[in-house]
Symmetry: C2
Subunit: 338 residues, 2 copies
DNA sequence: TTTACGAAGTCAAACGATTGAATGAAGGAA
DNA sequence: TTCCTTCATTCAATCGTTTGACTTCGTAAA
């Protein structure tokens, strides 16, 4: 187990100075091409590996971005990561991944850790219950932070998210157009901007379209398939169950289809179900799921662009931008009763 | 936008030396408690953030692990990441994530990048077509590398994987026990150890149990839901289609159930389907999927433990360990014809 | 012959934290 | 008073790279 070779090893092996070697490896025009080639050959021969930590310490540049999400088990977030990674790759930036598991304490730990490791900035999908003061200190110090998918209320931090309220309005309007008047909600309560806004969209549409407002129709739970299964079961057990359900997210909706199957309730017939996010799984659900497609690629790109321009220093104040979703009608929705 | 404070800022603000501050922050017994507290308070007031890059450069320790997987879109790999992350967290190690997308070139880039960033070691699920020489140089240099989920043929690198052949034998035996004699295969060919071994298990069981060996029953494709959908469609179009299908992975199996649904073929009745991996989605498929459950938690833990002991220097030669899978019978398999 | 200049490299001081060795002051024993 | 400890703190070298300033040398212009 040889020691990792450094510039000085290459230098002494060639009878050159460390400076020359450093410049040669970085292709400085100050070093003749012949020397450069010699240096590079020796570096390769010795198995030299660039010590980026040392270099960044000296140069004061950074090339890593911290990315914090809440739930790796949810394909939506994984989709976001994939697109963020794609975008970062184009800028030659690396990704330090963190999973907060919706725990603001773990998230706070990451905020510190990412800085410690010399991250240039942080991309974060704020955990449930993230408060203004959780990120304000960073922003005050001028440390670049940008949020994606979820927004943080009243903080001067850039955020790129889906128009969740609008999307949910579209979902309810779609069901209303099919003749549904009694529409249930399953999903998050008020602890993330996504949940707040989707629920607000539901409430607004229900009010505007004069649909049934029975509070029993709204069931709050987390975002897993299992919760969708359980919550939908509970709605179906109501004395006067809904004829359609909008779910906070696709996983919930998929859980909903499962309980229907078990009970012999035809999805898209006896019960219509709409999901949200449009993960790949929707296409293979039984039946394929009507959902509100979030433009994850655009959101990821915008967030990365914003963060990078903030890092570069040429960004003005914080930006908030909502992206318009698209209702994708598949077979889990059908005509209402009557 | 203030500059990030450093030890010297705390020091001068207190009229102390940098050494004292450094020692105080690390709770050295050489510094009286009163001074420590003062230093810590000032650090907090100034918003001091530890510069781990500088510290690691000086101390020569590392606290980051590079993790490279092939396909973030596949829940199996995401499951592995989650468990790896859990295991690493307990050792206070951070995770630098990389997605190779099954591209050995991208994977090679990561091997270098991770070292450049000062990773202590690398956990890798080798991309398709990874050859001995892709990792041998690292190992020769004594850089710790451990593989999980897939193995690399004939290289002295530790590997922790599922007993894929055994699992597939169990799947075929299960179908045989149900009376199936004509069993199709959909999935990977020979480019990963997982594919090689699962297919070998299929072949072995087919031979041992004297089942139909029609080569048309084996269809090679990638691991996506879509491929499962297409490949299964092709098998069903055969003049003499199989009565059961084993899939390389769950996503394929889910795609398979989808095409059956479209064609009105009862899964678990007219056609039995077995998946592999046991991702959460299996429980919510229609019907819930019989599958071979891989012990991802144990594999992830073992890989992390091995890597960490290698990093600590107290590991002998490379270790290869296979973990026994468990057949989980759900409703996608049922009695064969006759 | 002197001066000037470009080419090819080298010097040495950073970057921020760590740490073994050294310092100075206070207190106690002889 | 002198010597020895102990305590609290500081010195200074170091980790591996980078980079502005500098050297050295040969050649060409004046």
């Amino acid at each position: 187990m040889t020691l990792r070779p450094k510039l000085s090893d290459i230098a002494s092996s060639l009878g050159l100075s460390v400076s020359t070697v450093s410049l040669a490896l970085r292709d400085s025009f100050k070093i003749p091409v012949a020397t450069r080639d010699e240096v590079k050959a020796t570096a390769a021969r010795l198995g030299y590996v660039y010590n980026r930590q040392a270099a960044e310490l000296r140069r004061g540049v950074k090339s890593m971005i911290g990315v914090c999400i809440n739930d790796l088990a949810n394909p939506v977030f994984v989709d976001f990561i994939r697109h963020i990674e794609d975008a970062l790759r184009q800028h030659d930036m690396k990704l330090l991944l963190w999973n907060s598991g919706e725990d603001p304490a773990k998230q706070a730990a990451f905020l510190t850790t990412a800085q410690e490791y010399g991250a240039a900035g942080i991309l974060i999908c704020p955990a449930e219950g993230t408060k203004r003061d959780d990120v304000a200190p960073l922003l005050a110090k001028g440390f670049p932070v940008t949020t994606f998918s979820r927004l943080i209320e009243g903080v001067g931090v850039s955020g790129f998210a889906n128009d969740d309220a609008g999307g949910m309005v579209a979902a309810v309007e779609h069901l209303h157009g099919l003749g549904h008047r009694r529409i249930g909600w399953i999903g998050g309560g008020r602890r993330t901007s996504t949940a707040v806004n989707r629920l607000a969209g539901y409430d607004r549409a229900v009010a505007t379209l004069a649909l049934d407002t029975d509070p029993a129709l709204r069931l709050f739970c987390d975002t897993s398939r299992r919760s969708g299964y359980l919550a939908t079961g509970a709605l179906l057990d109501l004395p006067h169950p809904p004829t359609a359900i909008v779910a906070f997210g696709d996983l919930l909706a998929i859980g909903a289809t499962t309980v229907c199957r078990e009970r012999g309730i035809g999805v898209g017939a006896a019960l219509s179900i709409v999901g949200f996010d449009d993960i790949d799984e929707c296409n293979y659900a039984s039946p394929p799921l009507t959902t509100v497609a979030v433009d994850k690629v655009a959101i990821a790109r915008a967030a990365v662009d914003d963060l990078l321009s903030r890092i570069a220093g040429d960004a003005e104040g914080p930006v908030t931008r909502l992206f318009t979703p698209r209702l994708v009608v598949r077979q889990s929705t059908g005509p209402g009763p009557g």
